[in-house]
Amino acid sequence: MNQSAFRAALLDPDRPVPPGVTDPEGRPAGSRFDVYRNNVTASLTEALRQAFPVIRKLVGEEFFTAMAIAHVRAHPPRSPMLMLYGADMPGFLAAFPPVAHLGYLPDIARLELALREAYHAADAAPVPADRLAALPEADFLSARISFAPAMRIVRSRWPIHAIWAANAEDAPMPRERRAEDVVILRPGFDPAPQVLPDHAAGFLSLLQAGHPLGQALAATPDFDLTATLGILLSGAAITDIALETAPC
């Protein structure tokens, strides 16, 4: 028995039990081998159930379980870090014909993945909330912002926050299609997604890439800076403000 043969039979119920794997009398192991098949499939399906509660609600428990088994067979985990299992789910959903009519599912999966990453991200203390507002204008424009490791931005052509909230928090399902960009922040231990003002996601991406505030503002179409900064400050998102030091 080599482990390649054992593994191949584990994830393919149509394959026979590998040779040399037996019951106590030396007969082929039969349903004894199925214990391992069930353990692998059931435990990984359960990991996906926990990872994607909103997807589960959107497609229904029974459908989700069948879909998760197909996902497990196509994309087994590539690390024992099951807390991050499911990175292939958005692509899997986008290519899974039975959910082709639910075009927003891949983006909802990306949102749920980002929530889980935020939950396990490193802790970081925010700067005092008034520090940014207290800067003279020249310093403000030259400032480079460091963000909390938990911060995630998910951009979508679909109302992903509204759809997420309708299923995670019993808000009504959105009636019309619109684009929503979401920022996830974790001021305590619980990550919270919030809708960003139009164009704010692009602005934040420039800041994340290390551009100073003034450059990021100049490169972004008119948007609600006050609301955006309010979201960042209340979400404990800003962990450092680096000012341009004057050359000696």
Binding site: L44, P76, F189
Partner: protein, 284 residues
């Protein structure tokens, strides 16, 4: 060969597998639980609530770190990234014990999330010994190796499981984790004697005992097939086997494992109390 350093051991009391839903209950009403065990892989994130809760508990209880993803019985090399994560966790937490399984779970780049069985031969023995040497070197600690629950046999097996485990302990300096429920499950499934297994076990190597619940099924021939499910109370035959174990070995740190359909705290604490009765009777 690992050079065991002096460090505080787990107390010879009952412990439980930590579940986050019991966090407040454990702090307010821990008796008779004297220590906690966590699955290493659940605490390999960078921060957030899991690590904050664990740090809080570690200030109050001895902690055992129990890995479920190292694949010590695997044909391929150990995953260096996973070894580095284990070292980071153990360095940060300084647990009283670190343990893993005689099983494999990774094949190639895939993690299969089950404790899969291996045949017992000279070749697999050499491979497991090499892997345990590597783990103890990389993590910088002595580890305990747990006997598995098995559902199948292998025609190529030509070494006895107890001889296999004893030889591993002798060659690597690792200790053993004796899972009494696994003994009962495996011996039932293999149609061998569980009392005999306990009587022959090298108890001087044992640093920790596990107890847990199992499910009962039947195989294609109608023979009993027990499943190590960790979703119910410890059964009476396993309590009897634990009693026999403690009489043979003396009091040992004893964990109640309950990982699925996790009950309210009083149910779990009652299981720990039952273990405490047996431990106290032997100590008295």
């Amino acid at each position: 060969m690992f050079d065991a350093k002096t460090r505080p051991d787990l107390p010879a009391k009952p412990g439980v597998g930590y579940k986050p839903q019991h966090f407040t209950d454990i702090l307010e009403n821990p008796a008779p639980v004297g220590w906690l065990e966590v699955h290493a892989e659940n605490y390999m994130g960078d921060g957030g609530r899991p690590l904050a809760q664990l740090r809080h508990l570690a200030e109050r209880f001895p902690i055992s770190v129990h890995g479920v993803g190292l694949s010590i019985g695997g044909e391929g090399p150990l995953d260096p990234d996973h070894l580095a994560r284990l070292k980071r966790l153990c360095d940060w937490l300084n647990p009283a014990s670190f343990s893993e399984h005689l099983a494999w779970s990774t094949h190639g780049a895939e993690f299969l999330n089950d404790l899969l069985p291996l045949p017992y031969t000279d070749a697999t023995l050499a491979r497991v010994v090499g892997h345990i040497d590597r783990v103890q070197d990389a993590v910088g600690r002595r580890m305990l190796l747990e006997n598995p629950s098995v559902y199948v046999d292998f025609t190529e097996t030509n070494l006895d499981e107890i001889d296999f485990l004893t030889e591993i302990a002798a060659r690597t300096g690792c200790g053993l984790l004796l899972d009494v429920n696994n003994v009962y499950v495996s011996c039932t499934n293999r149609k061998t004697g569980w009392n005999d297994y306990i009587d022959r076990f090298p108890h001087h190597h044992v640093g920790e005992i596990h107890l847990g619940g199992h499910d009962a099924q039947a195989d294609d021939t109608g023979a009993a097939l027990l499943i190590d499910a960790h979703g119910s109370e410890v059964t009476d035959p396993v309590w009897a086997l634990y009693d026999r174990t403690i009489r043979a070995s003396g009091a040992k740190p004893t964990l109640i494992e309950w990982d699925n359909d996790v009950p309210d705290w009083p149910v779990l604490a009652a299981e720990a109390a039952r273990a405490a009765q047996i431990l106290n009777r032997v100590a008295a």
